[in-house]
Amino acid sequence: MAPTHPTPNDPAAPGGLYLHIPFCRSKCAYCDFHSSADLQRLPDVFEALLREVRLRASESGCFDSIYLGGGTPSLLAGGDVARLLTHIRRHFPILPDAEITLEGNPDSLTPARLTAYRQAGINRLSIGVQSFHNARLRFLERRHNADQSQAAIRSARRAGFTNISLDLIYGLPGQSEQDWRRELEIALASEPEHLSCYQLTIEPGTRLALRHRRGEWQALDEAAQLRLFRLTRKHLAAAGYDAYEISNFARRTPHGGANLRSRHNQKYWNHLPYIGLGPAAHSFQPPLRSWNEMRLQPYIDCLARDQLPVAGSERLTPRQMRIETLYLALRQSRGLDRDAYARRFGERFEARFARPLAQLMDGGQLVWTPPCYQLTEKGFAVADGVVAHLVSALAEDEDLPRPADDGG
């Protein structure tokens, strides 16, 4: 098993491998992910993806997680997933107990497909349920209904999946605490190992934003959103789930039981290395971040010429590294590990952030739980503001030591 709290200072820390399948049957109203409904191009992109796997095989490190995300990876046939995983294992060192997740939507997770996925080696399933309420599903412009979600969960269990995560969206117009509690109850009834509960956000350029601009619906006010946010945390805690990240909840297991937190997503949040393959996927090899071409045709063309489809990259400056660390660490319940910070950045956290830190402790947004600074319940609700407040005290790059994992 991977260490529970790996830190980026550990040179041997295994990385994560992400594969982006940028296709969906149709675009959901709220979604600003990179995905296309032009399914005819799926085969070409898939072939290109296999090439990319081969081309990037030389990148160092071993991996203890693979994540097929999207988009809708459950549009891939069972055989394709098997082929892809075999291909990956051939080119990348994948640790034996790796977490291998596939994201899917209820309308494409058929029993047969689920069985094939399980056999191919997928051991964790993330299902895009979003809501157990049909009117809300229509509001979100999802393609499935609540019954299909229930059926998919049942089929997944039958196919042998013992690690299932459900994605839910709350904070929809008119949604009361009671409404949301009822949905949470339905979700909990299927005893998922993991839940991701996202508050609805209006992303620019989406249909949801357009409809909002036209006045077709009204967002919940801040107080109502806050009530739902708190309810989510409280209710799931009571049901035996750990809010290990702001929107992510893992079922608590008896001591020594399998860790049900998303190992893959923790790579992002712990600033560990990951490789992203597929159109628009991001990779991180501290302090370097790079991202792939997002347009499908150039992505395909590039790989047809055996060239890496990298669209851009950046080398994080000492200041940027700190900003990301703050942001990512504080979103997790464990918080920001002072000792890990000191090892990585060669300075005391308290010295760097003395003033805002004192203010936030006074204000009741942060607490000190050795060896970490953690957001309080109040603090979690304003996590962005807390980070912004800390960042406002951050000096310019010239005045900041380079992090330990910055090669030179």
Binding site: N265, Y268, H282, Q320, E324, Y327, A381
Partner: protein
Amino acid sequence: MQLNHLRNFSIIAHIDHGKSTLSDRLIEVSDIISERDFKDQILDSMDIERERGITIKSQTVCLPHAAKDGKTYHLNLIDTPGHVDFTYEVSRALASCEGALLLIDASQGVEAQTLANLYLALEHDLEIIPVINKIDLPSADIDRVKSQIEDDLGLDSDAAILTSAKEGRGIEALFEGIVAHLPPPQGDPEAPLKALIFDSHYDPFRGTIVHFRVRDGRIRAGERIRFMSNNATYKVEEVGLFQIVRNPQKELVAGQVGYMIAGIKTVSDTRCGDTITLDSRPCEAPEPGFKEAKPVVFSSIYPVASDGYDDLVVAMEKLKLNDAALIYEKDTSVALGFGFRCGFLGLLHLEVVQERLEREFDQSLILTAPSVQYELVMNDGEVQIVDNPALYPDPTTIEIAREPFIKAAIIIPDRYMGAVMKLCMERRGINKNYQYLTNNRLEMIFELPLSEVVYDFYDRLKSVTQGYGSFDYELIGQRDTKLVKLDILINGDRVDALSQLVHEERAYQRARVSCDKLKEEIPRQMFKIAIQGAVGGKIIARSTVNPYRKDVTAKCYGGDITRKRKLLEKQKKGKKRMKMVGQVEIPQSAFLSVLRTDAE
């Protein structure tokens, strides 16, 4: 260049009567600039003039003109601003002219600044040609304007020239009128050099560029000149004429208006109103120069950046070259550090100074609430002059406070009499009398506290008279008043830069408006922010900026991280326009909002 082939004249008028547009037509005919480079109101060259559609700076342009008599004349035109706040520009322009074109909008008729500018021109003994402009407008009423010229202005309406600057009508007649009716300059080209500096500006490549009118003698490149006020001497590098661009000349002689470049290193050596003479052959006495500009509103300017003072010093000096009306001295604030206490000719002038400092000199500034100048008679009989709330003494030591009053002359069509009455009463005005002008127009005379007109009075007048009202004013002295100092506290800390001196009756209202405006402008932050208005320790208004209760991004995966980080980085950049006061970040716009607070 022979003196009798020169004409120096200004175009003066009420705001918007078409001075700059008429200048365009004259420039076009004289063909000093190619069509390609031409644009409307070409003399309004500053961005802020173009955006606001008004002239702020007087601009000189020398037009060669082949007259009907077969001779070529040099017509030196100065386009002037019409807005009251820039009268100082007009009066200095007039000092280098022998004549003036007094423009009157054919549909608006004579307005307050038409009269004010006419009086200015008469003070300078200028020959005046009335010009009725905008005759193309359907609402033009030439006969009516002619009767106003006779009766209200006391000029000969038969001499009036009719133009449409927009359509280019009447331009030939105007040229001939200028040549025939305006006198040529006088002066002795052989006498020792005597040239009056009436303006200057800073050029990043050439340094200070001095604008002057030669009274006597001549000036050429290579000569050593002397500024008579401070005896600084410089070697002339270049002299020339303003012809949209600078056009270098071998020499400038008595009667001409032009510029000089002389490698002037010390910016403060150049003073408006000073006389230039030759070092080797100085003239006997300098020109009388100009009356000092008399500022009516005062405000302090601070750099947003705590280490920005040194840059601001340089910027102020350079701006002062081109804005002789700007008066300033060093100032300090507990909240904002070092800055300048400045005097302005009005609120528009204040805004222009701020904008020019920001645009032309890349400054980021905070201004304090504007104030007029009060006279305080202390218990011991001593009289103090105070325009800065920060220096307001302990009220128990003050025997009597006095505030400046003005006499306002407001010209309106008589149907707006009631509305104007009401407005002026609200502003603590006293109606002294009124008189009918020609054509159902009324001139109303009010006495008003100056502090009540510096804020948005003109805008309000325009709006209650649907654009027909115009006004002019003069200071008539100090009168007893009841003054209090309104403090603004943010989280309990008094922010000295937000303090204001106000009339007792106005304190509540001003406090409430200030608190509300600040509440709008100060962004919600992590912590609750209490805003209070206080007079002498007593809280009379309050508002609260509530902290964020929810501010958290739902998702954060691969690509989101970079995006979120960029937002956090950008926020830091935005902070450049924020000022930390105690624990609270106050945006520059918040200071400005209090400054613009209208006492509604």
